[in-house]
């Protein structure tokens, strides 16, 4: 229950420098002349190839934090460093995956996936597109337009589009939020499969505790108003995770009680 982040323990197990680091990040929004503190003293370290979930209730600032790390927002104070450089703007090395509504409706599946590949020679571009189309399981739909696809398929297009430019880091902001729960479970499996194949660093925002425990190496539990890191919970179950195993339930219940919820409804 201590506020002291468990980061010190992390430092001893990872001898490499962190891929991504936030130092004393604060974010204050001004609305109607009033100052709204949204994020307070965020200190976070993420290592290369890690899958990190930012977990918290709505309004705890996790999406704001993600947007800031991606370079879309500037923190009011504090620094965000990726690969030792301060983040000042969005960059193709760190791609943000919005919910499936980020897919460009005027381009086909091919067009979307190839969007960031303009600089490549045509043959290589076509190869890459085909590779990622296959990876997300959308063969046969290359020439389809997004409005002809289901929500889950559109989400896959967006993930493929992000992966195609081979970024170091992926940011995902509640990407499965608009999907039904069955599709959501399928998509989680897909995401893990892709992550294990490509080993990107992933920062994933969610309000779903199960989702966080199923996916993450470490879960960053955040509290709301202002957003603070309450605790960082390492999930030490290897993939594929059995969601009925005692260790899974133990970790999940631990987070539940962290947030202050009982597991008897």
């Amino acid at each position: 229950m201590s506020i002291q982040p468990m980061i010190e323990t992390e430092m001893s197990t990872h001898t490499l420098r962190p891929k991504l680091r936030t130092e004393e990040v604060n974010m204050i929004f001004t609305r109607d002349g009033k100052n709204l503190p949204v994020l307070e003293n965020i200190n976070l370290e993420v290592f290369d190839g890690e899958f990190i979930c930012l977990l918290g209730p709505s309004g705890c600032g996790k999406s704001t934090l993600l947007s800031a790390i991606a370079g879309f927002l500037k923190p009011t104070s504090g620094d965000i460093l990726i690969d030792g450089e301060i983040v000042r703007a969005p960059d193709p090395r760190r791609i943000f995956v919005f919910q499936e509504r980020g897919v460009f409706p005027w381009l086909t599946v091919e067009g979307n996936i190839g969007f960031g590949l303009g600089r490549l020679p045509r043959s290589e571009r076509a190869q890459r597109i085909q590779y990622y189309v296959k990876m997300v399981g959308l063969e046969g739909f290359e020439k389809s337009y997004p409005h002809e696809l289901s929500g889950g398929m559109k989400q896959r297009v967006e993930v493929a589009r992000a992966l195609a430019v081979n970024p170091d880091v992926l940011f995902l902001d509640e990407p499965f939020g608009a999907l039904d729960s069955i599709t959501r479970m399928i998509m989680r499996g897909e995401l893990l499969r892709i992550w294990q194949a490509e080993r990107k660093t992933i920062l994933f925002v969610t309000h779903d505790i199960d989702e966080a425990v199923q996916l993450a190496d470490r879960v960053v539990v955040m509290s709301a108003r202002p957003g603070r890191i309450q605790q960082i919970v390492p999930i030490d179950i290897s993939h594929p995770r059995d969601i009925s195993s005692p260790r899974y339930l133990e970790l999940r219940d631990g987070i539940l009680s962290q947030i202050g919820l009982a597991h008897n409804l």
């Binding site: 969005p90 919005f98 980020g102 005027w106 960031g116 430019v165």
Partner: protein, 260 residues
């Protein structure tokens, strides 16, 4: 809407035909019963139009009107769309220019005729200038609004993939705004068609608008007046339908809700 039975396929033709036939009949008998010798009956209108076709005059008038609309409209598109995109993309510019636009916009293009005549004299160019004025402001406003309404997500995605601001404007904002821009362009074309007819009633000596005024002035040929009006309606409708076809192309179809 209400709990009516789903209309059957044949009804799509039955009702319009019925209603139109009814109106034509109503028109015809109104003329007969009031024994007016000025206002034409439907048959008189048809006869008058056929007469014009035989004289070879009708095609020329139609072409003249279409030509003026084409030139004025395309000029309005060529200037209005880039300007609109620019003003929408840089709100600072829009803020400066907008008041001027808001004052000029409510001035009917027809009110510009004296000014147009000064610059262009009586004739084609005056009419083309009027069409330009009529189409320009709606196009400009539509483009500005279209750009402003592009969701932030698309713009962020654009910068995320490393596009410079001009590239974002060209590759993301413009395609995203295109459906609403097309609607504005279609409406502007309709306005251009309205304006050319009005302009031809004052400032030129050919075209469908002139045909209307001239038919009345030289001989009270109301059959030609009404005939010309109907032609104007039909051609205007054809232009509109043509444009709507463009709206069905796949790269923009996503922006239009399903309209039957």
């Amino acid at each position: 809407m209400s709990a009516q039975a789903q209309p059957r396929k044949w009804e799509r033709f039955f009702w319009p035909v019925l209603a139109t036939a009814f109106f034509l009949a109503l028109w015809h008998y109104a003329v007969v019963w009031t024994a007016t010798n000025i206002f034409p009956s439907p048959l008189a209108v048809e006869k008058g139009l056929v007469e014009l076709v035989h004289k070879g005059v009708l095609y020329q008038d139609i072409l003249d009107s279409l030509r003026r609309v084409a030139i004025g409209y395309l000029a309005a598109v060529a200037i209005g769309v880039p300007l609109g995109l620019l003003f929408g993309w840089y709100p600072a510019i829009n803020q400066v220019v907008n008041p001027v636009i808001q004052i000029l916009r409510p001035i009917s293009p027809i009110a510009w005729i004296p000014v147009a005549i000064i610059f262009f004299g009586v004739g084609d160019y005056a009419a083309i200038f009027l069409v330009f004025l009529g189409a320009f402001f709606p196009i400009l406003v539509t483009c500005v609004d279209g750009v402003a309404n592009v969701p932030l997500i698309y713009r962020r995605a654009g910068t995320n993939f490393g596009l410079t601001p001009p590239q974002v404007l060209a590759r993301v904002v413009f395609p995203a705004a295109l459906p609403s821009i097309l609607v504005g362009l279609r409406i502007a074309l309709g306005i251009g068609w309205l304006v050319v007819v009005a302009g031809e009633m004052i400032a030129v000596t050919s075209g469908l608008g002139y045909l209307i005024i001239d038919s009345r002035n030289s001989g009270k040929r109301y059959d030609l007046v009404v005939g010309a009006m109907l032609l104007i309606g039909i051609i205007g409708l054809a232009l509109d339908l043509l444009f709507r076809r463009v709206e069905t192309f796949k790269p923009v179809r996503w922006g239009f809700r399903n309209e039957s």
